[in-house]
Structure formats: C-alpha cells, structure tokens
C-alpha cells in the first residue's frame, strides 16, 4: 500500500507543479490546492499504515494507528486552508485591479528594476 501511495503522491505533485507553472492565475491556485493534498497524504503515508484501530481509546484495543502524523496533518489542513483562501482572494483582487490573469503580464516593468 505504501508503495502505491508513493506513486499516487508523486502523481499529485506532478499535476500540481504542472498547474503552478501555467500562465493562468486560477490554474496556479488550483495547483496549490493539489499540492497540499499531496503533502498531507505524504505525511500520512510516511507514518505508516500499521495498526488496526483509530487512535481513540476503547476497551480492549491496543493496536492503534500512529496518532502523531494525524495531528500534524490536522494542523497542516487548517493552515493550507487559510493560505488557499488568501490566495483565492488575492487572485480575485489582482484580476479585478489589473484586468488580467496572465502570469506573463503580471511581471514588474522596467521602471522597477
């Protein structure tokens, strides 16, 4: 399972990087969303899939899955949500103000060199 997940994570990263490199602003934002999915799954996979019970105390269960990666991912999810929201609004405002979402045009002009 870990090997398969590794391949899937690689695929997610590939798709994310491809989107981030494109010229359209919204594709870049979508790319960052995929990138965070890839990262979360990576943390989970690296924690290992051993253990048979969710990490909640219950009578007679001792074989919990590793709780630490889950705690880390939970933090990461919330942070990436915050960042995605900011990106999204920023993209929206940039488009509104500059009237373009072409990343090639969104570069400094020579005055600012």
């Amino acid at each position: 399972m870990e090997i398969l997940m590794s391949v899937i994570i690689g695929f997610l990263f590939m798709a994310a990087v491809y989107l981030i490199l494109s010229r359209s602003l919204i594709r870049v934002v979508i790319g960052t969303g995929l990138l965070s999915h890839g990262a979360h799954l990576l943390i989970l996979t690296m924690g290992g899939f051993s253990g048979s019970a969710p990490p909640v105390l219950a009578d007679g269960v001792t074989d919990f899955v590793d709780p630490l990666p889950q705690a880390l991912i939970l933090t990461a999810i919330v942070i990436s949500f915050g960042v995605t929201a900011v990106f999204l609004v920023m993209a929206y405002r940039a488009y509104q103000e500059l009237e373009t979402d072409n990343m090639t045009l969104l570069k400094g002009n020579d005055e600012h060199d």
Partner: protein, 805 residues
C-alpha cells in the same frame, strides 16, 4: 606607548581642523596644521643617535589581545628613515600647500583632514610590527589617497582617477592581507620581528610561495609596478601638493617599504629575488620609455616616478640576491641594499621638489602642457634653478645626489650580471642592459622636462596667465629639497652613516649585525676609472644625442596603438565586468514567476535526486507494507481521474468541481486509513473551500491557456514529471527504510493517565503539542484579517481612472 599614541597625533589634530577652518577664516588653516608634522619630525630626529648604533625602539599598545593583535611602534633604521621622510616632506608639503591652495576658493578643511589622516596612516604602515595593524593602516592610506585624488570632486577626471587608484590599490591590499594570514598560519604570530626570526622554517612550508606572491602583489600595486602602474598617471588629477607628497615621496614607497621589510623573510626564495628584480627592471624601463611620450608636466613626473620606483625595486631584489651569495659582504653585492635605500632618500627629495616646481609652473602660467610652455628661464629664474637641480639629479649627473645613487645602482646591476646561481646566467646581463637603456631614457626625459619648459621660445599667447616668478613662500619647500639634493652629493657618507646604514641592517639582517658592519663608503670619484663611470659616460653621450634628435624619433610613440595599452585593458575589463554582470543577472532575472519556479523546482530535483544517487539511497521494499484492498484501488482511481480532469479542464467550473472531488477522495482515504478527525476536518474544509471558489466564481477569470504553446507545455511537463518522480522515489525510499521506531507509543500509553483524554489526536493537538494549535489559530486569524483587508481597503493607484467600489 607614547610613540604608539603619537602615530595618531595627526588624526587627532585633524579633529580640530574643521573647527579652526570655520572659526579663524582670516588665517590659512595650513599654518595650524604645519605644527603637527614639524613637531613629529623633531620627535623622530631624537631617535637618530639611538638607531645609528643599531638600537631599536619598541612601543606597544594592546588592541585585541585574544587574537594577538596590537598596535605597535617599532622604530629601527628602516622605519625611522620612512618616518623622517613622511614628517619631513609632510612639513614641506603643508608649507607649500599654504601658498598653493587659495584660502577663500578651496575647502581647506577637507584637504587638511585628509592629509593628516594620510599622515597617520603612513606612519602606522612603516612603524607597525603587527601585520594586522599594518594592513589596517595600509588600507587607510588607500582611502585617504582616494579622498585626496578626488579632492576636486566636481571634475570627472578626478573621480575617475580616484576610483581607479582605489580599485587597484585595494585589490593589492586584499591580496596582501591574504599573504599576511598565510604567514600567520605558518608562523603562528602576527609580529614581523618574530616571523623574521623563524624565517628558515617558514621557507620550508608549502604555503610559503603563496604568501610570497600575495605580499608581492600588495607591494607591486601600491608602488605602481608593472602592470599595476596605470593608476599613478591618473592620480595626477590630485592637487599638486598631494602628488608631491603621496605619489612621489611617501605612499608609493609603501610598497618598497613592504618589500624591504619582508626581504629577511622571503629572500631565501629565488622566486622572490627574480620577481622583484625583473619586475623592477621592467617597470624601470617601461616607465622611462613612456615618460618621453607625455606632454603634461605631471604626466612626465608620474611616469618618471614609476620608473624610479622600479629602479629601487630592482635594487631591493639584488639586495635579496645577496642572501644567496657566499660572503656577500666582501663582494659588490653589498652595494645593492645600500643603493636602494640611498636612492629612496634621493628620489623623495628630488621628486618632491620637481612636483612642486610643476605645481608652481601650473600656478603661475595656468597650464602644465609642455607644448604651450617654453622660454620661462628668464621669467622664473628661481624655479628654473630648482627644476634644473631636480632634473639633473634625476638624470644622474654630478654634482647632485642622483649621480651617486646611479653609480651604485649600476654597481648593483653589475653584481646581478655576475649572479649565476639560478637559471640562465645571461639573464643577469639582460637586466643590466635593460637598466642601462632605461637610464638613457631617464636622462632624456629629465632633459625634456626641464629644457622644453624653461628654454626655447616663450609663447605668451598660448598661456592662460602672464608668467611670472612665484611668491617666495611657494619656493621655500622646493628650495629646501633642492638643497638636500645638493647636500647629499657633498656629504653622502654622513647621510649614509646616520640614516642609510641602519636601514640597510633592517633589510639585510642576514649580512649585518649592526650598522657599523655595513662597509660601504660612497665617493663621487673613486680615484680610478670604474666600469660604472664608463657606463654613466655612455648614458650621457647616448642621452644627449637622442635628446638632440628627439623631434626626429618622437613620432615613434605614435606607432604604439592606443587600444593595446594597459589603460585600455583596464577600462575595457571594467566595462566588461559591469556590463557582463548586468547582462548575466538580466538573463536569468527576467521578472517571470514561472522562470523562478522552474529554477527552484529544477534545483530541488537535481539536488535531491543527485544526493540520492551519490548516497545510493534508493530503496523499495514490500516487506511489512499494508495490503492493498479493492476499496483503496477504487478510491485511488477516482482520485487520479479527478486530478486528470483538473489538468485538462477547459471551464473554471469543471476544474473547481474536480478539485473538490479530489478533496473528498482524500477525506475518504482518511476514513479508510483510520483517521476520523482528519476525515471530518477534510470534509468540512473541502466543502468550505469549494464554496469559496464558487463564491468567487463570477469574479474569477475564465480558464484560459493564454496561448500556451505546445513547446511551453512540454517544458512544464518535463519539470513537473521530474518533481513527481522525485517525490515518488523519495516517498518509496523513506517508507522502505525506517531507522527508528515512532515515538507515538508514549502518547498511546499516557494519553489517559497523563492527560485524561481518550482521543489521542485531539489530546496531542491541545495538550502535548498545544503550541502548534495556538499558532495555527493565529494563522487563521491573520488569513481572515488579510482577506478582509484585501477586500475592504481600496487605496486607488495614482491616476487610476477606473475606481471600483
């Protein structure tokens, strides 16, 4: 201790200069400044009797004791000679500048502050025994020289000259620092004295040769040796007192001082001997040859300085060669060291006076162009006399000091001719011939300088001012120097005993124990015809003939193409360095975020995959992995499908929904991987995210590919595939080789007993690792405030026509 503090006396006095310059406008500031070098000169004169008998004075002031760095004042023959030159000529130059610089038109405060700063720096260079302190003062001379050359900073040429000299001398200074550090590594001390005492061991060290070359680079750049002499002619944009002081008598001799001071350490190396000698002779020849080409009086003097510095340098090389000769004290090798120091004194005297003469001519006629000058002899008789004394001494004619040093120089060169210790024996002869030819050219430019200016036809129409004799005050300083030049001829042995011999002992401690051992007696006429005298007669004859024919062959200089000169090389290398760097940074910093992302991704991939290959870290192990069920396969298939959809979607809505689908699949993966809290959060967050995307839907731009060419997309795909491959391999290798077990057992064991909770993930979040959560809350708050700010605050740009509410 007192002597160390006195090093800083000029700088301390400089603090008062601006005050005096502002308060007492009626009196020329130079009069106040004059007291400083005069008093110091008198103070240093007091050391003469002590040093004459081979005594030394050591003053020390701890600076950074933990690193063995201290400020020292080590006064032996060599540093006393230099200190006397610095303060003596310094006094004369200050006196001269009082009459040269106008007190109403010039910013005298600046001038004297820089000059006093320079004086401290120079005294520090020659008296420092500690190499780090020596380097500090060394750079201070570069800086104050930079300030003085650029004194008239509104002129382009001044700024150019100042920058050029700064670049070259600071380059050399840094090289020298490297050499000093290597010496420290070898010897374990910064003290030059202690290094000299361990010279034989140092010579065996593998770093020795590097230290040697680096120290020499410092000396050659400062003393304007080939090919670094190019800054000196451009430094002539400085006021003439500065040229006279810094660029003839003192600063340019700092390199000579350095070579002389380190000769006891490096003389053991043949490379030192040959480098110093041949670069010296080459500079001597080159400078004298091109001096005749110049049309500016100060230009001639600048090239002549370069040439004379080369002469002294070559003599120092010959003095080092004496180290390799058996019983050098008995042979003619003993003359070289003496001649070097003797000529150093001589040159400081006559070149200082000549610069002042050039300044007087400039001051009284308004031009320094030799083509416009002529026939000033009758109008400026005193100046003419002084110029004649200086020039004839420079040419090496009796009855002036230059004659004696030239004789001894030829002796030194003849001794090199005998030197067949190393490499081809004929090499010494080549040097001798080159030195002889250079002496002929020296003769020519000396005559050229004085007779083109003072004899011939007077051309009053070409002169900006009507020429007349300078005020007496201006003539005092060159007159004193002229007197010294003559005096040296008549009492050479007195100068020799009091000043030169103690200095020679410092340069050649391997030959002499005390000044009394230096068995050199200078005589203008040895009572019989020596080979040196024959050579001098040859120089005079050849020089007179060539000077006579000068108009015939001066056109020869035009044959040298201008674009092949070293100046052009310097200029174009500067242009190339600046323009090249600019082009280089522009070529990769193109302002496109995509480019920077590509650099980053490519860099990461190369570094990670590269180090994995180097460390052979690839691993794939199916051992202990969890089994793969049909549900997982199904979910992953959906995930891949939705990701592919986002990739190829042409509509915004499709892409957003596909992204949402991917998010939900991730939530379901959390479910099957037994992470209930994650699944819950992921579901909620994904829902909110999709809602947010949809909320902004109408405002978001359409999904456009912006003419993304096929090539463009293929490039992106390659980078993306590289990153994906790297992550997959990394994840596989990491999952397959676990070094340590997880620390989570502790959480599992203590979650109830220590924290009183049942949900391990939640307890970790708020109890074991509560700080993460605190700042995660902070992140969310900042995001919320940021979004609010972006939407609410609309500072319109300047000249924005389309304000939107």
């Amino acid at each position: 201790m007192i002597s160390v503090l006195l090093l800083f006396a000029p700088v301390a006095a400089a603090l008062l200069v601006p005050l005096l310059a502002r308060r007492l406008r009626g009196i020329h500031t130079g009069w106040f400044v004059l007291a400083v070098p005069v008093l110091l000169f008198v103070y240093y004169l007091g050391f003469l009797p002590q040093v004459k008998d081979g005594g030394v004075h050591i003053g020390e002031l701890s600076w950074i004791p933990s690193y063995g760095i201290s400020l020292t004042s080590y006064i032996d023959g060599l540093s006393l000679l230099f200190s006397l030159l610095i303060t003596g000529i310094g006094s004369l130059v200050v006196l001269y500048s009082i009459f040269y610089l106008d007190k109403t038109k010039e910013r005298l405060g600046n001038f004297y502050v820089y000059l006093l700063m320079f004086m401290t720096a120079m005294l520090g260079v020659v008296q420092s025994d500690n190499m780090i302190a020596l380097y500090g003062f060394w750079e201070l001379t570069s800086i104050s020289s930079f300030l003085l050359i650029g004194y008239w900073y509104t002129r382009d040429r001044s700024r150019f000259g100042a920058l050029k000299s700064m670049m070259i001398t600071v380059f050399g200074g840094l090289m020298m620092l490297g050499g000093f550090i290597l010496l420290y590594i070898m010897g374990g001390t910064f003290s030059v004295r202690e290094l000299i005492s361990m010279a034989p061991e140092l010579a065996e060290h593998s770093l020795f040769i590097w230290a040697l070359v680096l120290v020499l680079l410092g000396a050659f750049t400062k003393s304007a040796q080939f090919p670094f002499y190019i800054w000196l002619p451009d430094a002539m944009e400085a006021p003439t007192p500065v040229s006279a002081y810094l660029h003839s008598a003192t600063m340019v001799k700092a390199g000579l001082y350095l070579v002389a001071r380190f000769t006891p350490i490096f003389a053991a190396s043949e490379i030192w001997v040959w480098l110093v000698t041949s670069i010296g002779v080459l500079t001597l020849f080159w400078g004298s040859f091109f001096a005749v080409k110049q049309t500016d009086l100060k230009g001639i003097l600048a090239f002549s300085t370069v040439s004379q510095l080369g002469l002294i340098m070559s003599l120092l090389g010959a003095a080092a060669a004496a180290f390799h000769v058996e019983g050098a004290t008995e042979t003619m090798f003993k003359y070289a060291g003496f001649a070097a120091i003797f000529h150093l004194v001589n040159h400081a005297a006559f070149k200082g006076s000549l610069f002042m003469v050039a300044g007087i001519i400039d001051h009284e006629t308004g031009t320094r162009d030799i083509r416009k000058l002529g026939g000033l002899m009758a109008l400026m008789p005193v100046t003419f006399t002084l110029a004649l004394i200086g020039s004839l001494s420079m040419a090496g004619l009796p009855p002036f000091g230059g004659f004696l040093s030239k004789e001894m120089f030829l002796t030194g060169m003849l001794s090199l001719g005998e030197l067949d210790l190393f490499t081809p024996a004929s090499w010494g002869t080549v040097l001798l011939v080159a030195a002889w030819i250079a002496s002929v050219f020296t003769f020519i430019y000396s005559f050229y300088f004085v007779f083109r200016t003072f004899t011939g036809k007077h051309k009053p129409d070409h002169l900006p001012k009507a020429a007349h004799e300078a005020p007496p005050g201006m003539l005092v300083s060159p007159a004193v120097l002229g007197l010294i030049v003559v005096a040296i001829f008549f009492i050479p042995n007195m100068i020799g005993d009091w000043i030169v011999k103690p200095a020679v002992v410092a340069v050649q401690p391997f030959m002499y124990g005390s000044p009394a051992d230096v068995d050199v007696h200078v005589a203008a006429w040895h009572g019989h015809v020596t080979p040196e005298l024959m050579m001098t007669i040859g120089i005079v004859i050849a020089g007179l003939v060539l000077y006579w024919l000068l108009p015939k062959w001066q056109g020869l200089y035009r044959a040298f193409p201008e674009h092949l000169t070293l100046n052009k090389l310097y200029d174009s290398s500067m242009v190339l360095a600046e323009g090249g760097m600019n082009r280089l940074s522009r070529s990769y910093m193109n302002g496109l975020i995509r480019s920077y992302l590509i650099y980053m991704f490519a860099g990461i991939v190369i570094i990670v995959l590269g180090s994995m290959i180097v460390k052979d870290a690839f691993a794939i192990s199916f051992e202990g992995t969890a089994p793969i069920g049909p549900v997982e396969i199904g979910l992953l298939a959906v995930l891949v499908a939705s990701v592919v959809t986002t990739l190829i979607a042409r509509k915004r809505l499709t892409a957003i929904l596909a992204l949402g689908a991917a998010g939900y699949v991730v939530a379901l993966l959390f479910v099957i991987f037994k992470a209930p809290d994650l699944a819950l959060t992921q579901l909620v967050i994904e829902t909110v995210s999709v809602a947010l995307y949809l909320l902004a839907f109408y405002h978001l731009p359409k999904m456009s590919r912006h003419d993304e060419k096929r090539k463009f997309r293929v490039g992106n795909a390659i980078i993306a595939a590289g990153v994906g491959l790297m992550m997959a391999l990394l994840a596989m290798s990491a999952a397959s080789q676990k070094a340590l077990p997880s620390i989570s057992q502790f959480y599992k064991d203590t979650v109830y007993s220590e924290a009183g909770g049942g949900n391990i993930v939640n307890v970790i979040l708020v109890d074991y690792r509560g700080f993460d959560t605190l700042f995660e809350i902070a992140v969310l708050s900042i995001a919320a405030i940021g979004i609010l700010g972006m939407i609410k605050l609309r500072l319109t740009r300047k000249g924005d026509q389309h304000e939107k509410q």
